[in-house]
């Protein structure tokens, strides 16, 4: 493992921006915004904007802290070796300070401007990702993706709580949907992308438990995801439009996991079922949350019947 090169030039601002993992942040913004819009009640647009901004800033801060901690690991992997820290374009201490400032700023602004419960959840999610996941459990257990999924599951819950000011069943269900969605989503990718996690000592599931076991677990999570995804409709938190969409989407998801679950990789395998599952998993999450928002907005406008939970 090589150490980061000493930095003499002042870092370019784009490298600080790259530290926030902007592509991950776009999914965080989307799910956070969906939670905010789907929640019953109304929120002033300025406050709603502030809430989503704080969720994004918190995610950016957590991502910076993650890369500060993993700079040496990233240097050892092809996919991540060109990130600002391992490439030596940014000093490690600067990344740490940047991560802490973003994280603290996001929580404080959320608390003062929006709601302290949402701010508390945001603080918990940053701590969970940067410390419990990155520092503690990711290098120690092949269940790391399951645990990391918990961090990605916070945004819609925080968006929801920013409006309602209380944790009810619905935001918890939104959390659960992303939580159970993450492992099949990531493991499908891990099956067809030759990663060098093993080289740097990160125990990813396909490496530790083997391909067969990983494939079975993908199916297991997809099976749990189905009832969790339609639960918002079953408990009356969303209408039949969402229920129908969730059912169709989840059954399709399950159908795509079946070939992945019961096959074995051959030599020169194109890994098409795995790629198909991974591609659909992204469509699935976007479509599911979009359906929830459409359902809730339509109900609130009186276009369709549906209880406001």
């Amino acid at each position: 493992m090589r150490n980061a090169v000493a930095v003499t030039l002042p870092a370019d601002w784009r490298d600080f921006f790259a530290l926030t993992k902007p592509r991950v942040m776009s999914l965080v913004i989307f799910t956070g915004l969906c939670g905010l819009i789907a929640a019953p009640g109304s929120i002033n647009p300025v406050i709603g904007f502030t809430a989503v901004l704080c969720i994004a800033l918190g995610a950016g801060g957590a991502a910076a802290l993650n890369q500060w901690w993993e700079a040496d690991l990233d240097a050892g992997m092809k996919r991540t070796a060109s990130r600002p820290l391992p490439a030596g374009r940014l000093a490690r201490g600067d990344a740490l300070a940047f991560g802490i400032i973003l994280s603290a700023l996001s929580v404080i602004v959320m608390g003062l401007g929006v709601h302290w419960l949402a701010a508390g959840l945001l603080a918990v999610s940053i701590f969970y990702y940067a410390v419990i996941y990155t520092i503690w459990l990711k290098p120690r257990t092949p269940q790391n993706i399951v645990i990391g999924g918990g961090a990605g599951a916070f945004p819609p819950m925080i968006g929801w709580v920013a409006v309602t000011g209380e944790i009810t069943l619905m935001p918890v269900l939104l959390f659960a949907i992303i939580f159970f969605w993450t492992p099949p989503h990531f493991w499908a990718l891990a099956l067809f992308v030759k990663s060098d996690y093993a080289k740097v000592g990160i125990p990813m599931m396909p490496v530790v438990a083997g391909e067969r076991s990983t494939r079975r677990q993908i199916l297991l999570y997809a099976l749990v995801l189905l009832p969790v995804a339609i639960a918002p409709w079953l408990v009356g938190g969303a209408g039949a439009f969402y229920g129908g969409a969730a059912l169709v989407l989840s059954l399709s998801f399950l159908a795509l996991t079946l070939p992945v679950a019961f096959r074995v990789q051959t030599k020169e395998d194109a890994m098409l079922p795995e790629k198909r599952l991974f591609g659909f998993s992204i469509v699935y999450l976007f479509a599911l949350f979009a359906a929830l928002v459409a359902d809730r907005v339509a109900a609130a406008q009186g276009w369709i019947q549906g209880s406001i939970a």
Binding site: L9, P10, A11, D12, W13, N44, V46, I47, T50, L53, L112, G113
Partner: protein, 41 residues
Amino acid sequence: MSPEEETEIKRRQRSRNIVLGSVLLFFVALFYAITIVRMGD
């Protein structure tokens, strides 16, 4: 330090200052808007 390095340092400092200044101005505007909205609560 070569003149090229000198220019590069100046360029980066300048772009960083512009970005940081814009971010601070944005927060000034945001806090102003939040304050106005919250006073109406």
